[in-house]
Structures are given as structure tokens and as C-alpha cells.
Amino acid sequence: MSTPLVELHELRKSFGPLEVLHGIELAIEQHAFVVLVGPSGCGKSTLLRMIAGLESVTSGTIVMDGRVVNRVPAKDRGIAMVFQSYALYPHMTVRENLSFSLEMAKTPRDVKQERIESAAGILYLDALLERFPAQLSGGQRQRVAMGRALVREPELFLFDEPLSNLDAKLRVEMRAEIKALHQRLRSTTIYVTHDQVEAMTMADLVVVMNDGRIEQLGPPLELYDRPATVFVADFLGSPAMNLIAGTVAESEAGPVIDAGDDLTLPLSPGSAVRPGAEVVYGLRPEHLRIGDGPAGLAATVSLVEPAGFETHLHADVGGQVVRVISTERLDAVPGDSIALVPDTARVHLFDSRTGARL
């Protein structure tokens, strides 16, 4: 692989006495689509703005194209950024919004014309070029904001929650459009969101952040299948993974998890766990099957959510609420007694003290 386009080393950021980023280490390859995801306040925007040059670096380095850019002003980094609020210039028409950066770069008139037309074509803005931002819908404004980034043909695109002001349907549409755009232009992209679905569906590389640290990074499915910590396990996937605290115990069939209240959770026979260890037992909702017979965990249905293709079910198992997804049409109603069969091969075990995967 070629050298990474962006490298962050031991990057820290403090606002006054408060440190919000605690040593970020990240390399972003040429042409990658990287999604920074994490709960509100974990420092995603701050990290993105530091890469953009809008926020100063407290310590550590930002390297672009092999050059340390800590002290390069934002306007000279050649990065395009799309803001959550779009931040369009309200006093300029769409055309003027698109051409502003090209004017600043003293782009020749014919090149400017050509770039604007090509961006407008890609983003379906042709008919809107003479309008003012106030005369556009939310989705159209969003596209103008992207067009403004696009005309510059930058090496690096930054997006800070660009879709969070759109309604659900438009969000799904724009998600696909952004992804398609990336597949076509191959520009390196760093995309911030707190929506794990966006992260899963769009990214080549997902970076899960928590409280100013990188919790785990990797391809989306790898993170989904092998979360490194309880936090990642809980954060990715919707409905979220079932997480039940318990102690490893022995039985005739091998190790099991004693979760109290007579609740015993099965493990696959080969599991290498130390009896007596305090663990968190994790199982995704789709890895629980509703059994035909009495075999499995006795449960009481407490909530049924038909979602069309699949059905989401909440069930009470030994005092714990367990989420189940079934692709079969269920005729269960709250109060029904059912048996749940865990797919023991898909169980995740975490150390309950450190949260790390076992």
C-alpha cells in the first residue's frame, strides 16, 4: 500500500484545563472512506476540525502527504469540508456559492465554468444555480454544500454530520448518493456521524471513538463481528447487542455463565474461559432463535415490534430484558411464554472489569 494521505500521531487537544482528545493515533489511506463514529461529546468534531485546521493542535502531529501541517493555516491545506449546518453563503446564489473557492484560488474563467457545470450535473443542481440558499429545501442545500466542496477537486473531503438535518427518507437517499459519489471520484473522505447505521453502511474503515479515545478501528463487518470492547459491542448494531453480566461456572456440558436468578447462559463447549471469572456475555439479537420445543431459555414476551421484513421482540429472561430479531412472522403477543435458543458459536465474552474482549 502507498503511504497514508493523513497520519495522526499522539494527537491531543485541550480546551483550557479540559483535555478532550487523549492521544489519537490514526492513519488514513489514499482513497479511503473513513467514518468517525461515537456518542455525542466524544470529540469527533474536534478531531475533524483539527484535521481541517480550524482548531489548533495542543500536542502531537498531523501529517498530510508526508508533511507536518500542524501550523499550516486551514485555507492553505487544500481540504474541503461540509458542515452540519451547511454554512452556505446566504447572500450568494448557488452559482456564486460554488464559484467562491475557485475565485479565491484565481481559477481561470473557463475552468471555473466547467467545474461548476460538472458539479451541478453530478448533484442535480443545474436548475437551481441562480437561486439563493433561502429559496432551497434542506436536501437541496445539502447538495449545494457538497457541490461547494466538489468543485475544488480536493485531495481530502471532510464531512461533519452532513445528513443529520434531513428527514429519515432523504437521509437514506443522500447516504447512498454520497457513497456512490465516493466510489466514482475516489477522493479520500473523513466522515463524522453519531449514527452507527451510517458508519456501517458507508465506511471502508470505521473508527469508533469514546470519550476522546479511539476505542476500535477496522472494516465495518469486522467491528460488528468481533467488537474489541463492550462499548463497541453496544454501540454498533441496531437493535443493540444483548449484554448480560455473569460469572463463569462449570457444568457437565462444559463452561456456562451464571447470570444469577437461576439464569444460566450456555457457551460453546470449546470456550477457553477460567471458571469464576466475572464476564459480560454478549449476544446479538439475530443470534437468538425462538425454539420450537421447551429446550432453551424460558422467556416471557414483553414487547413485539413488527418492522416488516423482520420482527423485533423484547423478552424477559430471568429478570433481564433480551432483544430478539426474527425474520419469521411471529404471532407472539406480550405475556406469551417462549423458549430462546442462543447460537453459542456467536457469543461474545468480555472482561467485566476492563470491558476488553476475552
Binding site: K75, I79, M81, F83, A87, L88, F100, M104, A105
Partner: protein
């Protein structure tokens, strides 16, 4: 540009809502119409009175109580325009106003940008101190200013007016502009930065156009301050040819044995007129830029 007002649907078109509409309209008239009418009368009546009086004959005002002139004529205006020195008073007022509008405006645009956009030490207290010159009564400044300016040898020069007027206009326009600049979302400016704009470009191409109504408001207030200023010019100028229009208007009272109210009012009207024209022109610009939706 499409006016957005045209597209607004009329809320009361449906027939069944006629009485509700009527009540709504009566209510609106009581709440808005009447106070507005009183305000308009309150502000325009003195001007109207001045205009009508300026059209009367010299001594008519002492003889009859009617508002309308019995024999309207422009003699008052002729007398004023024929005064020796009128053109230099007009020129002085004009020059001083132009300088004392442009200079404070430019300075306070930079100052306000700094106050609105940069967090620096003592920012708040400095902004408050900015107001001090306007809190101190102007009259109390006259004696010290006069002796200061005498020592500097600036009495009876344009400089003394440029300096004092500029100094008194800066706090006002800075405060107005800080408000307008601070209201512009930081992200708009940041996205200009990402687009490669330096501070000068951001100010000129992004901040100023968006805050244009604020700039015009500040300009109008600077113009009015300078054009109508009286205390400083009285204290710092004593040569006849260096007077401004308000100063001369005041001098008119003593220079005529019997008060000639026609001339006096004609002078007043001629003094107010340029200001009125400026007001109307600039006010239209502000309303236009707001209505067009260019500024949100």
C-alpha cells in the same frame, strides 16, 4: 430576485372565516394602526409646521394663527440661499459629515470584527469602556476639549471637527456592528476559510455583505450625528466661514433683529432636507436586502 412576500398565501381567503377575519383586522387596527398613526403625526407635525411656516410672509406668523400660509411664497428660501457664506456652511457640513461617516465606519468595522470574532483578554471590559465617551455628557467635554485643541492649534480647522466627530461616532457604530457580526454563524466564516479565503476576503466578501443592514444602520447614525452636531462645533469653531449648518441656524437667531420665522424655517428645512434624502435612499436599500431573502 423573487420577492417572497408575493408567495405568502392570504390567510383569510376562505369565506366561512369572514367574521374571524374581520375581528382579526379590527384587532390589528387597534393594536398596530392607531399607535402607528399617533407616532406618525407626532413625528411629522413639527416638520410640517416648519415647512408651512417657511412658506409664509415675514411677519405673518405674528399676525395670524392659521397653519396654512395665506400667501405661499419662496421668499424665505431666496433669502437663505442668497446669504453670504451659505454655500461654505453647506460645504462644511457636507465635508465634515462625509469624513466623520467613512472614517468611523471603517475603523469600527475592524474593531467590531475583532470584538465579535476573537476571544481575547479583557474583551468584555474593553467593549464596555468603548461606551464611556457616550455616557459622559457632551457639554462637560467642551471646556477641556477647547483648551486641548487650542494648545494643539487646531481651533478653526476642519481637523478639529474630523477628530471629535469621528471619536464620538466610533463607539456607536462599533456597538451596532458587533451585534450584527456576532449574529453571523461562525461556520459560515469557517467554510469561507476552508474555501481558501483570508481574513480580508472573509470580511469583504462574506461578513460585510451579510451584515449590510447593520453597516447601513451604523452609517445612517454616523451621518445624523455629524450633520446635526452642535455643541462641539460651537466650542471649537469661531470663524464665520468655518461654521456648519446647525451652527449657523443657531446664529440666525441673534443676527436678525426681529425673528423672521419664514427665513428661520426655510433654513431649518434646507438643513433637514439632505438628511431626509439620505435616510430614504439608505432605508430602501436595507429593506430591499432583507426582503430579497439574501440575508436570513
Amino acid at each position: 430576485m423573487v420577492s417572497r412576500a408575493e408567495r405568502a398565501p392570504h390567510p383569510m381567503r376562505e369565506s366561512g372565516m369572514f367574521t374571524a377575519g374581520l375581528r382579526h383586522r379590527v384587532g390589528r387596527f387597534l393594536l398596530i394602526g392607531i399607535p402607528l398613526a399617533i407616532l406618525v403625526i407626532w413625528t411629522t407635525l413639527p416638520i410640517l409646521w416648519a415647512v408651512l411656516s417657511s412658506l409664509k410672509e415675514s411677519l405673518e406668523i405674528y399676525e395670524s394663527n392659521t397653519l396654512l400660509p395665506a400667501n405661499p411664497n419662496l421668499d424665505g428660501y431666496r433669502t437663505v440661499l442668497a446669504m453670504r457664506g451659505f454655500d461654505s456652511w453647506l460645504f462644511n457640513s457636507f465635508l465634515v459629515t462625509v469624513v466623520a461617516t467613512i472614517v468611523p465606519l471603517v475603523l469600527s468595522i475592524f474593531a467590531a470584527y475583532g470584538f465579535a470574532r476573537y476571544a481575547f483578554r479583557f474583551r468584555h471590559i474593553l467593549l464596555l469602556l468603548y461606551l464611556v465617551p457616550r455616557i459622559i455628557p457632551r457639554v462637560s467635554l467642551i471646556v477641556p476639549l477647547n483648551s486641548l485643541m487650542s494648545d494643539l492649534g487646531l481651533i478653526n480647522t476642519y481637523w478639529v471637527l474630523f477628530i471629535t466627530y469621528t471619536a464620538s461616532a466610533i463607539p456607536l457604530s462599533t456597538w451596532i456592528l458587533v451585534g450584527f457580526f456576532a449574529a453571523i454563524p461562525k461556520e459560515i466564516e469557517e467554510s469561507a476559510t476552508m474555501d481558501g479565503a483570508n481574513m480580508w476576503h472573509r470580511l469583504r466578501r462574506v461578513i460585510l455583505p451579510i451584515a449590510w443592514p447593520g453597516v447601513v444602520t451604523a452609517a445612517v447614525l454616523c451621518i445624523r450625528e455629524a450633520w446635526n452636531e452642535f455643541a462641539f462645533v460651537l466650542a471649537l469653531i469661531n470663524e464665520t466661514s468655518m461654521r456648519t449648518l446647525p451652527y449657523q441656524l443657531y446664529m440666525l437667531k441673534d443676527s436678525m433683529g426681529v425673528q423672521d420665522y419664514a427665513v428661520y424655517n426655510a433654513f431649518t428645512v434646507l438643513t433637514v432636507l439632505p438628511l431626509l434624502v439620505v435616510y430614504l435612499l439608505l432605508e430602501r436599500r436595507v429593506v430591499e436586502s432583507i426582503v430579497s431573502g439574501a440575508v436570513k
